[in-house]
Symmetry: C2
Subunit: 307 residues, 2 copies
DNA sequence: GCTCCTTGTTTATGCTGTAAACAAATCTAT
DNA sequence: ATAGATTTGTTTACAGCATAAACAAGGAGC
């Protein structure tokens, strides 16, 4: 269960050259991953087993282990494979290659269209999670990002670049929206799965829980909400949540805007600076601070990359 | 695996009288649940098996089936058991028993303190999820709510009652915040679990993925964010996200406030009404509409309750 | 004493991921 | 062409899981 846990092997597989199409008539990583995705799509991730994948390709289960280290790595490969679908939908990001500078240059949508762009990214991700209902549930904090995951993350980051957020805030915003989408997708997938498995819809199931309703009177607020029709036309959790989250991000951006307008402080030593009338607003109070920041950047930052 | 799936049996168990303390020296539901919680807390939910629980109590695994229908129901019972811890922390909600009326009366914190109250609820829930790292991961859309889950939900609803939101919006807000907390808790629990299992910290693990960094230059925005220090002092995902979500809720409330100030429309027929100077703002344009709304409420609403 | 019910045990089934040994085919060097 | 090495797929085996079914022991009521 925990023998061949070598992430570098996974990296190698994920970023391998797609010379996979050589198609010697036997097994191949690509064929295995495709078969696995088909099974998981059609019958759910819990129906995915090494034996099933092997048999679908006309081999035994053990045969897969000659091409893929284990099941967890197979799932990693499946993730990046399907993430590739979405990348194709977006026009190439064409990010301006400006390297450093404490500010990150604006991305698609420019300085004002961030909300539409970020929302579109969230919706694309959600659509992907609906096509592959197992996806959101298996992306862990240590699943190695493949090229497609990286491209998606890059695009999302570019979405909130150059609108006044700090770099850590940009990462946090993308993470928040991404995890929101995944959370809702997991929920939705679970509903669909048990509905299909049991043949009973969510509505019907909860409707049949009369024994619960008997206790309702003990909860005054819930009773009032119920009687006011709070469950007659429920809000769509995804739409409602996405609006709230984006509103929250908007509030953050506005807050940053205001702060920048009223007072400008050096990015290194924090001393207050007066606002120059025109041109690019300065980030450092003096040439010395600018140099210090540069040296700090060169010596290399620490911490992990996450999608 | 799918035989004794009778939710009503689960309801019965969850809402059973706590006469459980009779303590005939054999097994009992309470003892089983406690033992299961201890195992899951100490060794993770994946280490929880019927055999382990039985053996911890000095019996065989199969013995549990005389008291609990199956493992899934046992997990339901575990959830409500630990949710009971939090309820005790809060002063009794003392909800004003006003029954109907299209408005839901204000809860703890009153008409202005909703944010503090809701945030406190979220933090309590999170603390609970940290004490029992398996909790957030097992609460599904069809896990039957026990008395403690219901009490928690009631309290959270009361938190956003009477501040101008519609009933469906109240439900949506509580759901959004709850799922946010659960999502972050699941993430955090996963990090802790793999750190303990592998002995490698998240930082170290990502640091060792040099092979990934080699590709970094292909992603200009990510590179810029990295070089600007976006990963040096990352935002705390929970704190950052909670602020964003609450900001989003605040925006919604402000929006509702403005709409109500500028124009008032009948809750039944929607026709515009002028604003009376003083007193409680009227919800219906005429006695007739008020009566229609009342009949609508009496005939009973439809839909499911969810936490 | 007899019967019924509750409680716990034993045995068995079918599923999982994967380690280890083995066999066959194919590639490489001579 | 032939010997050796490498790759690829198979067989067998193991430990673990939830739980169905049959069985055994004790207590309660008649």
């Amino acid at each position: 269960m925990a023998a061949q846990e070598d992430p570098d092997r996974t990296v190698e597989l994920l970023w391998r050259e797609p010379r996979d199409a050589v198609s010697r008539q036997g097994l191949s990583v690509g064929a295995i991953v495709s078969a696995a995705v088909e099974i998981a799509d059609a019958e759910g991730i819990e129906a995915l087993s090494m034996r099933r994948v092997g048999e679908r390709l006309g081999f035994t289960g053990m045969s897969l282990y000659r091409h893929v280290p284990g099941k967890t790595q197979l799932v990693d490969l499946m993730c990046d494979a399907v993430l590739g679908e979405t990348v194709a939908e977006v026009e190439p990001s064409a990010g301006s290659g400006l390297p450093a500078g404490s500010d990150v240059p604006p991305g698609p949508g420019g300085r004002s269209g961030w909300r539409e762009a970020l929302e579109a990214w969230a919706r694309r991700y959600r659509a992907l999670c609906r096509r592959h209902p197992w996806l959101a549930g298996v992306r862990g904090t240590r699943s190695v990002p493949g090229p497609n995951a990286m491209a998606g993350f890059e695009h999302a980051l570019a979405t909130v670049a150059g609108i006044g957020l700090g770099p850590a805030e940009m990462v946090a915003v993308v993470g928040l929206v991404g995890r929101f989408v995944e959370g809702e997708a997991v929920r939705e997938a679970e509903v669909a799965r048990v509905e299909r498995r049991t043949g009973v819809s969510e509505q019907d199931w909860w409707g049949a829980r009369e024994s619960l309703f008997a206790e309702l009177s003990r909860y005054p607020t819930l009773t009032a909400v119920w009687e006011a029709g709070g469950y007659d036309e429920p809000e769509d959790p995804f739409e409602f949540g996405l609006r709230r989250v984006l509103d929250g991000v908007e509030a953050l951006i506005r807050q940053r805007d205001e702060r920048r307008d009223e007072s400008l402080s050096c990015a290194v030593c924090g001393t207050a600076m007066e606002r120059g009338g025109t041109g690019r607003p300065r980030a450092y109070c003096s040439r010395g601070c600018q140099q210090r920041a540069y040296r700090g950047r060169r010596s290399g930052p620490r911490g992990g990359i996450r999608q």
